[in-house]
Symmetry: none
Subunit: 246 residues, 2 copies
DNA sequence: AAGTGGTCTAGACCACTAA
DNA sequence: TAGTGGTCTAGACCACTTG
């Protein structure tokens, strides 16, 4: 382990990366004590505060745990933040080791009904794209997904773009910055029309996911209603305690 | 604003709390610039590094945003974070404006079966508390919840503690630091036994939530299986696109 | 008693932004 | 050019844990 004091990369960041690498490569194992802050400071020829800045970042990222009077230790898990964050159906299935595919049921511009308009924060009857797809995993139906997009925001949409990647079109071509989404999950049972497309019995368990997605400036750009087969899909999700204690 | 240098509470924490209070009380509004680090240092008669530690914590908690060369500003949102993070049933129902209550079905120490043992990362047959409760909202059944806790970690549990607040006992009395949890959500239908306790028809939609919760050092301390009534409960959840860039 | 992380000081130079 | 946050130093005393 060696650092370059003349590098434009901050020293604390260099230290951080090297310790992180040791953890990820297995040179440092869970529950191992790492050298003390003073040891690192001497070894690298830097001040202890600089070492602390590196360690603080690793603690915040969940790689290390401090214990007063004892030392600093490698975290037990660092449960990978995998399925965190906004993922598309395609990304989601790939994470799960399945092959995603689509069947476009229909694609058209319609005037927004009230429930859609309110989610997208536009007046009722504003033109919106309605995209209805059966989502397959390993060629078996997984979900029935209906997406609504404001036509004046997501311009020039074609069925070809949808089949390639909607997110890439929005971020890459339209240069809009996707920020976050709110989801609602609830249990339901398959309606007649859904049961046929999903190839399950009528009344079979369905996981309904309603998602409204926003751009960086807060504009909603997408409202999605997905009906997942209860027998095939589990939604997985991580959350932390300290996100909002005040 | 004034700080007490002789207080056992660290100075940076005192500064932190006072700035946070100003934001929450509306004395500092979103996009407002706060005084510079040097101004704070002089005003409080402390070093700039101490001020920085306070501001860093507020930045990490999402209250402030730094901009190189410009200054430090109050975050736009911070309201959004609501139903984020790990919440108890009690907190969850209160957020939703409902009155939470419990009915203890049973409470005992049993040897862990395989599925529970693997979630809690202990050998099979290790003693665990099993706590089964009907969770009510406005006096109507909302969920059937079964919690498993390793008996050698969560010591001295009584039904009274459970009825008060399990989390407060773990954090306040046992001094363990709760960190994060992984959840699995799936749609199912009510079994005979569940339908009776939840007061729904057999076969009614059920939202199953399986949660494994971890301490700061990565030790799992709790595995919970909750069966929520599909007709009464929706799980709400926010996520951002850039959650995991390192 | 020795070592650890937690807190804190009083400076310093840098890159960046704004006027 | 003046002011800001970003980085860094070389110390210090504290409370805590362990031998």
């Amino acid at each position: 382990m060696i650092i370059d004091k003349n590098s434009p990369i901050p020293i604390y960041h260099q230290i951080e990366e090297q310790i992180k690498a040791k953890i990820e490569n297995g040179f440092l194992l869970p529950d191992d004590a790492i050298p003390s802050e003073r040891e690192y400071a001497e070894k690298f020829g830097v001040s202890r505060m600089t070492v602390r800045q590196a360690l603080n970042n690793l603690v915040n990222d969940g790689f290390l745990v401090r214990q007063k009077g004892r030392g600093t230790f490698v975290s037990k898990k660092k449960v990978e933040q995998k399925l965190q964050g906004l993922t598309s159906f395609t990304e989601d299935m790939q994470e799960r080791g399945m092959k995603p595919s689509n069947k476009l049921v229909h694609f058209e511009i319609i005037p927004a009904i009230e429930s859609v308009a309110s989610q997208l924060d536009v007046p009722v009857h504003t033109p919106v794209y309605e995209v209805k797809r059966v989502r397959l995993a390993d060629d078996i139906p997984m979900a029935l997904e209906t997406t609504y997009l404001p036509a004046n925001l997501i311009k020039g949409l074609t069925d070809e773009i949808i089949n390639r990647s909607l997110y890439q079109y929005i971020e890459g071509h339209l240069k809009l910055e996707i920020d976050q989404a709110t989801q609602q999950l609830e249990a339901s049972t398959a309606r007649e029309s859904e049961s046929k497309l999903l190839e399950v019995e009528k009344g079979a368990p369905i996981l309904l996911i309603l998602r409204t997605s926003f751009l960086k400036d807060g504009t909603p750009y997408e409202f999605v209603r997905s009906a997942y087969r209860g027998d095939r899909y589990k939604f997985i999700h991580q959350m932390s305690r300290n996100s909002n204690q005040s």
